[in-house]
């Protein structure tokens, strides 16, 4: 259930804050960089679910700001959901970007083998022990009559952050 949604941020970045089943859900949109302020997020209080679906980019200073935010959230439980490939890349390159947060779901990149169009398929990671082993190399394409989509990458590399 989503209630009391409010949008906070600047012209490059927006955080829509709402409540769902006792969690503060923060939907992040736009760019995270050195100008991004997270005061409203801290004020909202945890436990938190950060939704990354709308995040367009995060630069190196943005990574640092995010890691500092995680430190400031202290003992609050933190979950990440709907992480697109650009966020998964950061999870793999900068372990402190994840910190002690748990990842609930990620988008998997696929490419249609007949049209070469790119697709993102959401993978729910709750109750999953080894996500790399459960990535389907091929899936039916929802838009092509006989086509298939192929996983665009190496599952083990994509889930290197998983522990």
């Amino acid at each position: 259930m989503i209630a009391n949604a409010k949008a906070l941020g600047n012209e490059k970045f927006r955080a829509d804050i709402s409540k769902r089943d006792g969690y503060t859900v923060v939907s992040l949109r736009g760019e995270i960089d050195e100008d991004t302020a997270f005061d409203a997020i801290k004020k909202a209080g945890g436990p938190y679910i950060f939704n990354f679906k709308g995040l367009a980019s995060i630069n190196s200073c943005g990574i640092r700001s995010w890691v500092n935010l995680l430190k400031e959230l202290g003992t609050s439980e933190v979950f990440y959901e709907e992480c697109p490939p650009l966020v998964v890349r950061q999870l793999n390159m900068v372990p402190s970007f994840l910190g002690s947060a748990k990842v609930l779901s990620v988008f998997l990149p696929y490419v249609c083998d007949s049209t070469e169009e790119e697709k993102l398929e959401l993978m729910d990671l709750r109750d999953v022990k080894n996500p790399a082993a459960q990535v389907k190399a091929m899936l039916p394409c929802k838009e092509c009559a006989d086509g298939e989509i192929e996983f665009d990458g190496q599952p083990a590399q994509y889930f290197a952050f998983w522990r």
Binding site: K12, E34, D35, S57, N59, S60, C61, I63, R64, V67, P85, L86, R89, M93, V94, P95, S96, P109, E118, D152
Partner: protein, 245 residues
């Protein structure tokens, strides 16, 4: 791929070239240890890029690579704020035919290269950085940063050149040492930046080349292979210092 680097030429000291089948982490370790030229390719020392590098070093020149001949467009910036508009302009002009990952890599590399060029390069008379990271930096027209974007067969070429020439090899070696070392020490706390930019660029690029001419200019250029031409075992890092005549 198994790391089995073979040092071809150790006589020239810091200009030695390491060639072999390497993982990026292993290559970064070599750079952190002081090696300015690292090539990874299944062809080993016969790789054409490694051969070009070796010849250039022997001749005391800066190597030129095939991707630098890609059809390109040059942009100039005199303010840090212009980078957002520049990135959108580049993605709008060239990015329509690129895959999502290429667009994300180009966005990230230009962001990191341009902010590095503006905020880290320009110094005052005492050698301190002229621009605090959280403020808009404005350069004089003669200091303008040049950004070159080239599209060639199999990938994208990017180059960012400042007019300061303060890019020391130590900056790369220490960044690689930190970023590929303990995760707890990856991120710097200094005001000027998080110290992750070069790491991100090295990870995203296929070939990375730095040319520093002290007091004159520094250029960081890279080639990003597209999906069809990407091979994780093929990459290079080269740092050249050009001495003024």
């Amino acid at each position: 791929m198994k790391s089995s680097a073979a040092r071809l030429d150790d006589v020239a000291g810091s200009n030695s070239i390491t060639v072999g089948g390497l993982a990026k982490r292993d290559a970064a370790k070599r750079v952190a240890e002081g090696c300015r030229h690292v090539h990874s390719s299944p062809l080993g020392a016969r790789d054409p890029v490694a051969v070009s590098t070796e010849q250039a070093i022997a001749n005391g020149e800066v190597a030129r690579y095939p991707w630098e001949l890609a059809k390109s467009v040059t942009f100039t910036l005199t303010s840090s704020d212009e980078r957002h508009e520049l990135i959108e302009a580049i993605l709008g002009r060239f990015g329509r035919s690129w895959k999502r990952e290429m667009r994300e890599r180009v966005r990230s590399i230009i962001e990191e290269l341009v902010t590095n060029a503006i905020y880290h390069s320009y110094r005052d008379a005492e050698g301190a950085r002229r621009f605090p990271r959280k403020k808009t930096a404005r350069l004089a027209p003669k200091e303008a940063v040049e950004v070159i974007v080239g599209t060639g067969e199999g990938g994208v070429y990017l180059s960012v050149r400042d007019k300061a020439g303060n890019f020391a090899f130590d900056a790369v070696s220490s960044a690689f040492h930190r970023c590929y070392g303990s995760p707890a020490e990856q991120i710097e706390t200094k005001e000027s930046g998080a110290g992750l930019g070069l790491y991100f660029i090295f990870e995203a690029a296929t070939h990375l080349k730095v040319v520093n001419e002290p007091g004159k200019s520094a250029e960081v250029a890279c080639w990003i292979a597209d999906k069809k031409n990407f091979d994780a075992a093929v990459f290079s890092f080269n740092f050249f210092e050009r001495r003024s005549e």
